[in-house]
Symmetry: C2
Subunit: 336 residues, 2 copies
């Protein structure tokens, strides 16, 4: 039994509580973007400063409308569960919903929540906390194809790019699954493993569990994390690369950033970054190659964005897209 086997049931009722700004609801915003039809409504307290553009509902109204899971996709200072959120969670459990949380603090660490879950038999999901025993990675080649997004930094659009590629594959009738490795991705997929939260010895093992043996023509699109060139998180990236055994890598990049997130290191050069990630990937898949570049040009005006994509494509000789502005068809074409 591993965290890859969790299954968060849709439809979702999105809980925002009384968060102080829209950024605190970033996770929920991502879930609504990708699972709009499965998000029945939002639960907001009077002081809430975030808005997902969903109908406001009470817990009871959400349940009545068919919600199966209350999703706590908002962050709170310190990652703890505030006392004044507890009643809504307990009510959700009592009404027959499961509860899924992206907070650092585990739901069951709150005694009333633990008691209510026990009493009602409903499930609690802490998507930041892997559950169950993971194996160590073995590096043995397994059937099925895998694509992994990597990056010149953290937070450059790896999740979005992965979701867009999986959606494009599915739209073409390919067998494809998005495989989530972070909290927002797990809410979107309904399952996954927060690989940055597993014990260090089991990073590649987690990726092997997450993208298991499959049909030879099936694609697992694995959500990347961090960067081999980020001094805080390269270990996570390395294990994810080895466990994913990617046939294809897509490099994600943000062209206006000068320093890597939360550290003083400069953004690595794209060619060095591609070379480093492909070399690491070849340890477990000698055929690994970079098939394209996904650029997050959201900070650039339209004309500059187009120039930027063209320049990067010319410099590196690879299909180069902005998943939001141009879509990812060119990346999927490169796999066909």
């Amino acid at each position: 039994m591993s965290a890859a086997n969790i299954e968060i049931r849709a439809p979702y009722l999105m809980f925002l509580g009384d968060v102080h700004d829209q950024l605190a609801a970033k996770t929920a915003t991502g879930v609504v973007h990708w699972r709009r039809d499965d998000c029945i409504g939002q639960v907001r307290f009077p002081d809430c400063k975030a808005d997902l553009g969903l109908s406001d509902m009470s817990v009871a109204e959400g349940r009545q409308a068919g919600a199966a899971t209350l999703v706590i996709g908002a962050v709170n200072p310190g990652g703890v569960l505030p006392d004044h959120w507890v009643a809504a969670i307990v009510e959700s459990l009592e009404s027959g919903m499961d509860v899924a949380s992206g907070l650092h603090m585990r739901l069951a660490a709150q005694p009333q929540v633990a008691e209510a879950a026990q009493r009602t038999g409903r499930a609690l999901f802490d998507v930041r906390h892997p559950t169950g025993n993971l194996p160590t990675g073995k590096g043995t080649k397994r059937p099925g194809k895998r694509l992994l997004t990597v990056g010149t930094d953290c937070s450059v659009g790896k999740m979005y790019t992965s979701l867009a590629i999986a959606a494009e594959m599915q739209a073409r009738g390919w067998k494809a699954d998005f495989r989530a490795t972070g909290q927002t991705g797990i809410f979107i997929a309904g399952s996954g493993i927060s690989v940055d939260a597993v014990v260090a010895d089991f990073i590649s093992g987690a990726a092997e569990v997450l993208g298991p043996a499959n049909d030879p023509d099936h694609w697992d699109v694995m959500e990347g994390q961090g960067s081999l060139f980020h001094p805080s998180f390269a270990g996570v990236t390395m294990g994810l690369i080895h466990g994913s055994q990617p046939d294809a890598l897509v490099l994600c990049h943000e062209p206006t950033r000068r320093k890597m997130r939360n550290v003083e290191h400069p953004i690595p050069a794209i060619d060095a970054c591609i070379r480093g990630h492909v070399e690491a990937a070849r340890l477990t898949n000698p055929d690994a190659r970079c098939v394209g570049i996904a650029v997050n040009t959201s900070a650039l005006p339209e004309a500059e964005a187009a120039d930027c994509l063209k320049m990067i494509a010319d410099q590196h000789g690879l299909p180069t897209v902005d998943p939001v502005r141009t879509g990812v068809a060119a990346l999927v074409d490169a796999l066909a």
Copy 2:
């Protein structure tokens, strides 16, 4: 407060219980090798098949002889604490000793042990389990020099080589500390962090805590783990490299091994292995270089061992030693 701050007090009374063979006492054997003068005696039950070459003692006799800590340096199937070991542990706590364990199961997970520790105010150390909050790595250059052992595989002599180098530096009057990253090393040093057991996001942060800012002429000799070329554990190695910011790397190698430990991958070539580890290290220390090679030739007869060292030294143009057979003076010379 972090696990780097734990301090296991010597002298040690070595507890073997009734382990079934000498291999199950491998950790204790390593501790006795490096801390012989601090190991007062061994506690063995009638069926014990391991022997550390120490005086057999009861817990009471060990305490009387001055032991400050009972060290459980034996492994048991499943890593659990057997019920029939509990009385000796409780007696140790009641007699005034701390207890340190290398088992997977935490000491305090055994209710009688937890109760006795609470009642007596004695400390329990689970060296496999990091305690306290670790920061994420920042990659900012800090003063002091660091040497890190890396390897062509797991279990090729990185701990032994690191200890030998630290001892050689100290014998020359250099300022130097061995920094332990695994359970045996932690027993030997009396402190350290099991880096393969930290949460994946904090690997490089753990290494930064373990080898903190120091005098410009002080050497931290960091115990390496795994290999960048091992598909199970390369993430741990990567984080350890970035957090250590090594000025000097020493590559450890076992020349008779054909496959990497517990997987089907071949042992990487020495030159590729040096290049890969040095490149990774340069992310946080652009001056990182490999200063030599430590070969574990224990599987070779004397004459072949000498040939092997000469061949490797000639091929790679680096000082090449067997820490056991030749000592590590040539490696430390290369740093002078």
